[in-house]
């Protein structure tokens, strides 16, 4: 009787403990949803949305609905599946961090499914574009029609990101869209001014123009520096040698009234079509150089060569294409990029072509940050410039110096025209507006024009430098870190030869799928044989009393 009661008591105890464990588990788990630690081990913190993004989505006042649409077959295109996965994961992170203010839905649609047809038509009208995606299947190239895009709804307004086929700067682009939808995007207007005697924006700097207009919807070409629209807050000035005194004055006034400047200019003018034969170089008479010098940043009339880090020039030889040393094509080394500046912190190198050095006046040093320099084995030519290839076949100059080639400035500036009369505008008799002598501004100076020119821009990195500088001038600097996020795809690109690729592929599949199992089977058989032998030996000993006796029963 006592035993039965004891069992009943035991059962009751177990039930109570069971319920308590469940309750505790539930409470603890709920608590873990509130207080948690999240460690992103991926390279570049791929799955962690940045602080500016979290700050942005926490400003949401109403529910924001994000619908991500992609075509089923799009997933089959090499590289795209990973992008879709990344976008899906990132959007889930947005949802998780929004405290219920973002509702995200993934929608897989198919051209082959008649039920999806209507929806596809609808999203196409909203701006999600069907594109032809190329797919290499061995020797055969196939094209697949597909789409991948977002529709974002907020407060009755909708916006679309119509073609999402890369993970590079997805978070940045989405944040820009959200900011505009939420009305929190500051109304920064960018002006692009190319002032050169020989170059034009449309021809020589078209890539810059395309990039800037794609990134900043509110970008405008400024054809006359004397008429900078009032709503322009940041001015990109490429060159400046064709500026008149009055135009220079207007740029100065633009800075004095709080305008920001990205100045990309040469200290030395190069002429490769000289009638005297051979390339010629001479000091630039660019008024912008004088203006910037008055602000404390002087672009020197020199050509900088770096003996340790440069891009060689490819030239066709008699049999082969030769790569000739050319220290005037300076390649900024990673360690010479200022990792404390958001403009260049994520770059591994920057290529400059015939750059000049920059000197910072003592008065400006406090507000100036060096962006990048040459190595310590650089030199400069201040006169009698030699730019021909033959001069650099062998080291002609010993490099002992380190030169500054790019700077950023953030602080007060005094007008270049503070103690000068206001220049007259040709053909304009109207009275000039009151003169402002001091202002607070942001300025970025890169002592090289050619790195942005169509002749040399063949990689996105150099344009990204310009965009980072514009971001720093116009926005919260933290957004730059988002722009640089990605691209995350890791292609199998170590082997380019298709035959070798297939050979390695077969080795990997063969070894991991068949080789290792066979290895374990062999080990198994080996262990089994040894065990059998061992058992047989024991069996023999016990079944044969003589052997056992001989061993002394051991």
């Amino acid at each position: 009787m006592k035993k039965i009661e004891g069992i009943k008591l035991k059962k009751l105890q177990t039930m109570i403990i069971f319920v308590l464990v469940l309750i505790n588990g539930f409470v603890f788990y709920t608590l873990m949803n509130k207080v948690y630690l999240r460690l992103d081990f991926t390279d570049g913190k791929k799955y962690s949305i940045s602080k500016p993004t979290i700050d942005l989505i926490q400003k949401l006042e109403n529910k924001l609905i994000i619908n991500y649409y992609y075509e089923k077959r799009t997933q089959g295109v090499p590289g795209i599946a990973q992008v879709i996965q990344y976008i899906d994961d990132t959007l889930q992170e947005y949802e998780n961090n929004s405290k219920g203010m973002i509702e995200y839905k993934l929608n897989e649609l198919s051209f082959e499914n008649p039920n999806d047809r209507q929806k596809i038509d609808e999203i196409e009208k909203l701006g999600i574009k069907t594109v032809s995606l190329s797919q290499n299947d061995g020797a055969e190239a196939k094209n697949t029609l597909g789409f991948s895009g977002l529709v974002i709804d907020y407060k009755g307004k909708a916006t679309t990101m119509g073609t999402l086929f890369t993970d590079a700067k997805f978070e940045y682009d989405l944040d820009i869209e959200l900011s505009q939808l939420m009305g929190s995007e500051n109304n920064e207007k960018i002006g692009i001014l190319v002032s050169s005697n020989t170059r034009t924006l449309e021809k020589d700097y078209r890539h810059l123009y395309q990039f800037v207009t794609a990134e900043y919807k509110d970008a405008e070409i400024i054809s006359d520096a004397a008429q900078i629209p009032q709503d322009v807050t940041t001015l990109i000035i490429v060159g400046g040698e064709a500026l008149t005194e009055y135009q220079t004055y207007k740029i100065d006034q633009f800075v004095m009234s709080g305008g920001n400047i990205l100045a990309v200019l040469n200290g030395v003018v190069l002429n490769f079509n000289s009638q005297y034969g051979g390339p010629q170089a001479y000091p630039s008479q660019n008024p912008m150089i004088r203006l910037l010098a008055d602000y404390g940043i002087t672009v020197n009339a020199d050509l900088v060569g770096d003996n340790l880090s440069f891009n060689p020039v490819a030239q066709r030889g008699q049999l082969f294409v030769e790569k000739l040393r050319y220290p005037l094509w300076v390649k900024i080394a990673t360690e010479n990029l200022n990792k404390e500046s958001v403009i260049v912190e994520d770059f591994s190198t920057i290529n400059l072509f015939w750059p000049s050095s920059i000197t910072i006046a003592d008065r400006a040093k406090e507000n100036t940050k060096i962006l990048f320099t040459t190595t310590k084995e650089a030199w400069s030519m201040k006169s009698d410039y030699k730019v021909d290839l033959d001069s650099y076949k062998y080291p002609t100059q010993e490099g002992k110096e380190q030169f500054v080639l790019g700077v950023s400035y953030d602080g007060a500036v005094s007008s270049s025209f503070a103690d000068k009369p206001v220049p007259k505008n040709e053909g304009d008799a109207s009275k000039e507006t009151p003169f402002i002598s001091n202002g607070k501004s942001k300025i970025v100076v890169i002592a090289n024009e050619d790195f942005l020119s169509a002749d040399f821009v063949n990689r996105e990195d150099e344009l990204l430098l310009a965009l980072n500088a514009i971001d720093w001038l116009t926005k919260d600097g933290s957004l730059i870190s988002i722009r640089n996020k990605g691209k995350f795809s890791r292609p199998l690109n170590k082997v380019l030869n298709k035959t070798m690729f297939n050979a390695y592929k077969n080795i990997i599949i063969g070894f991991t799928t068949y080789g290792i199992p066979v290895l374990f089977i062999i080990i198994g058989i080996f262990v089994s044989v040894i065990r059998r032998k061992k058992y047989k030996l024991i069996e023999n000993r016990f079944s044969n009393p003589e052997v056992l006796e001989k061993d002394g029963g051991k």
Binding site: L492, I507, F520
Partner: protein, 248 residues
């Protein structure tokens, strides 16, 4: 503590290798998922991308079959053959016996899962660079998930006498716990707003949902607590279930 758990662990672990169980388990565990990964899902070569994500996305489903197959005999066989009583005559507490068995099974799963590391290693050496932070979390997550699956199947095994019953019961429970996260995805069904709470619950209890972060390259304490908590809970159930044989 190891002095007490160690002998049981050694006995169980060597028994796997002294029979064909370990070899069959490891061979099938490597062969079938790899075959699926490379031939049905395209593996790393379909997209030509250095990522094991698809491989690990299969893992919750692969475990549904393989882990019950490994652990179905843990208690059911002992009960069936009457060796369970002898096991508990050892001068160690009951939970240490369970822990020894548990760690032996976990170590075996570890060997099988670890063997798949050759895919990223060989690929890294020859074809493309992996994100090793992601690979690390994928393997950590897979081992944590395996611990939970083993704890659940141990408990199921303790409820039955027959191996096949244990296998079917374990697989069914694991299937339910794994799929409940899958059905909440937009692919399968759309939950109306008034059933939003159900979606949240199904997501939270799903074994596969909590693996998503590990699969991406992220370790979230919520997921770690979920797997360890669930493993401990079923460990406790297992103890009580074995203890209950004395109650009747």
């Amino acid at each position: 503590m190891y002095n007490k758990i160690g002998p049981i662990f050694k006995k169980e672990f060597s028994s796997y290798f002294n029979s064909s169980i370990a070899y069959v388990f490891i061979v099938l565990f490597i062969f079938i998922p790899n075959l699926m990964f490379f031939y049905f899902f395209g593996g790393i070569f379909k997209e030509e991308m250095a990522t094991m994500r698809r491989f690990f996305q299969m893992m919750p489903y692969v475990f549904i079959i393989f882990i019950p197959g490994l652990t179905m005999g843990s208690w059911a066989k002992e009960k069936n053959e009457g060796t369970i009583e002898m096991l508990f005559t050892f001068p160690i507490s009951q939970w240490k016996v369970i822990a020894g068995k548990f760690f032996a099974a976990w170590a075996l799963v570890g060997i099988a899962v670890g063997s798949t590391l050759f895919i990223p290693i060989l690929t890294q050496l020859t074809m493309g660079d992996f994100d090793w932070g992601q690979i690390f979390t994928q393997y950590v997550g897979a081992m944590l998930m395996a611990a939970t699956y083993i704890a659940i199947t141990f408990f199921m095994s303790s409820l039955t006498m027959e191996l096949i019953d244990s296998f079917l019961l374990s697989s069914s429970i694991l299937l339910l716990l794994t799929l409940c996260g899958y059905i909440t995805s937009a692919y399968v069904m759309i939950f109306p707003d008034w059933l939003g709470w159900l979606k949240v619950i199904l997501n939270e209890i799903s074994l596969s949902t909590h693996f998503n972060n590990f699969s991406k390259g992220v370790i979230h304490t919520k997921d770690v607590v979920y797997y360890l908590g669930l493993a401990m809970l079923f460990f406790y159930f297992n103890m009580k279930s074995l203890e209950s044989r004395k109650w009747s």
